[in-house]
């Protein structure tokens, strides 16, 4: 199947062996979108690499920006002003809502609810993209964060628009649930399908909603609070059996929690600087840093090695989408073709990140 197939969420190929309609074996084949970002990054300065991170998981560019900025800040010992931390958290959580909207919408597409749920979700995503456009002028590749803060402060009209969105959003999530959560076809297609038990999920380094769907209460925002996440009150939703339905529910509940976090961050948002001055070009002292954050799709890590020059000596990306695919074969063997498509949809991959 693939690489050009509507259900593969990009250019991803699965070599599947069937007996009739039952899957006997599956081998994922990667590399159709490989651009060599890790190698390219070794030839660019630290700041020049920021736009490359937009092009990893292009549905969650802000989160990628944030992880990379935090890694360089750790490497170079840069402080971030409080206001910038709040803006970052607001952006990262809005990004999570936006990414989950696409993930859930695409999952329903794969289930056969062609385009209708997808467009309901895109209605809200559009508003989010408008918000992002307001702060940085871009709708997909934001390049918004900088070492020591963000590129510029949020504009005046941003807060009222965000407030309206945050007030409306829980109602829209309820609307999706009324339409889909108890739908008989959805239940039939997703309950008990593509089960990933908790111990296997941990052993396979799976992260994000896929890990939590299997019932493992692990979220870096709670278990290793980075930035200012320890100041917010929110829950970690988990599933119970680790099937497609659990992963879908975890994403929906995470959207609600993200709304909660954004609301608290808006209330606490302090005045002040949004960026500390850093030398240009930035030359961190020789050393290395691994920083990981809870991106919408899982643990996104950057491992940077500096040799004291203006360019990173090694630029490694720990991509959640790639590693979450480790268990794809085990999840679908013995199931039918249509279940494999739904299972892949529920892992929610982004090929920009898988192949890099």
């Amino acid at each position: 199947m693939g690489p050009q197939h509507p259900s593969t969420h990009g250019v991803f190929r699965m070599r599947v062996t069937f007996d009739g309609e039952v899957i006997l074996d599956l081998e994922p084949i990667f590399g159709y979108l490989h651009r060599g970002i890790e190698k390219l990054a070794e030839h660019k300065t630290y700041l020049q690499n920021m736009p490359y991170t937009d092009r990893l998981d292009y549905l969650a560019s802000m989160s990628n920006n944030m992880a990379y900025a935090m890694a360089v800040e750790k490497l170079a010992g840069i402080e971030v002003p409080e206001r910038a931390e709040y803006i970052r958290v607001i952006m990262a959580e809005l990004m999570r809502i936006s990414s989950h909207l696409v993930g859930v919408g695409a999952l329903f597409n794969d289930m056969g609810a062609f385009m209708t749920p997808f467009l309901y979700m895109y209605r809200e995503r559009e508003k989010l993209l408008d918000l992002f456009e307001m702060v940085c002028g871009q709708r997909l590749t934001y390049n918004y964060m900088r070492f020591g803060g963000v590129s510029h402060d949020i504009p005046e009209e941003f807060m009222p628009t965000l407030k309206r969105f945050i007030d409306e959003m829980p109602g829209f999530i309820d609307e999706y649930d009324q339409l889909l959560a108890e739908n008989e076809i959805v239940l039939a297609r997703s309950k008990g399908v593509g089960i990933l038990p908790a111990d296997k999920a941990i052993n396979a380094s799976v992260s994000g909603p896929v890990l939590r769907g299997s019932g493992v209460k692990w979220d870096l925002r709670k278990n290793n609070p980075y930035s200012i996440y320890d100041r917010f009150d929110f829950e970690i939703p988990t599933g119970s059996v680790g099937d497609v339905y659990d992963r879908y529910r975890v994403r929906v509940e995470e959207m609600r929690q993200s709304v909660r976090i954004v609301r608290q961050a808006m209330e606490q948002l302090p005045e002040g600087e949004v960026r500390t001055r850093v030398p240009t070009p930035l030359k961190p002292a020789p050393g290395e840093a691994y920083v990981c954050i809870e991106a919408p799709k899982g643990e996104l890590g950057f491992y940077l090695v500096s040799d004291g020059s203006a360019k990173p000596y090694r630029f490694k990306i720990r991509a959640p989408s790639l590693i979450n695919l480790t268990m794809l074969r085990d999840m679908v063997v013995g199931w039918k073709l249509a279940d494999a498509i739904v299972t892949l949809g529920s892992i929610d991959i982004c090929m920009g990140e898988v192949d890099r």
Partner: protein, 154 residues
């Protein structure tokens, strides 16, 4: 908060079980001989509950490669870094840890593809993002790249 365990303390515990395996340690990292990496990793997994392997990385330091394992325990919420060195002589080899953590599967294949370190004991050690027959390993520092418009660079 994920607590980084002391590298020196872990090094002492590994050293008690596997003499000569440990070559050094610092605040968060244990340095292990490459041939002992599987045994050291098994010790950490079985005795210290390191059930989760978030990341494996390799770095080319010209005269040698470093392979770096970031390990974490979800059960106890602590972490440690395991690090090993292999010489840059022809084809460097390191034992695979797939038998302990399945999460190493795609990560080790990626390192083999891009950095050219062969993981012994991996069930499917072949290229992952580049195609079979591709020459060289791009993330190595001595890899020659074509530059658009002509010319070459490392």
């Amino acid at each position: 908060m994920t607590k980084p365990l002391s590298g020196a303390e872990i090094a002492r515990q590994i050293g008690e079980q596997l003499s000569d395996a440990v070559t050094g340690s610092d605040e968060t990292t244990v340095f292990v001989r490459s041939e002992d990496i599987l045994n050291a990793a098994r010790f950490l997994k079985e005795n210290l509950d390191f059930d989760y392997l978030p990341s494996i990385t390799a770095v080319d330091f010209l005269d040698h490669f470093d392979v770096i394992y970031h390990l974490r325990s979800i059960k106890n919420n602590y972490s440690v870094v395991l690090r090993t060195r292999c010489d840059n002589s022809g084809s460097p080899r390191v034992p695979s840890v797939v038998s302990l953590w399945q999460g190493a599967d795609l990560q080790e294949r990626e390192i083999y593809d891009l950095m050219g370190i062969y993981f012994e004991g991996h069930p499917n050690m072949k290229r992952i993002v580049l195609w079979e027959g591709y020459e060289g390993h791009p993330l190595r520092k001595d890899f020659i790249m074509d530059v658009p418009g002509g010319g070459k660079t490392t």
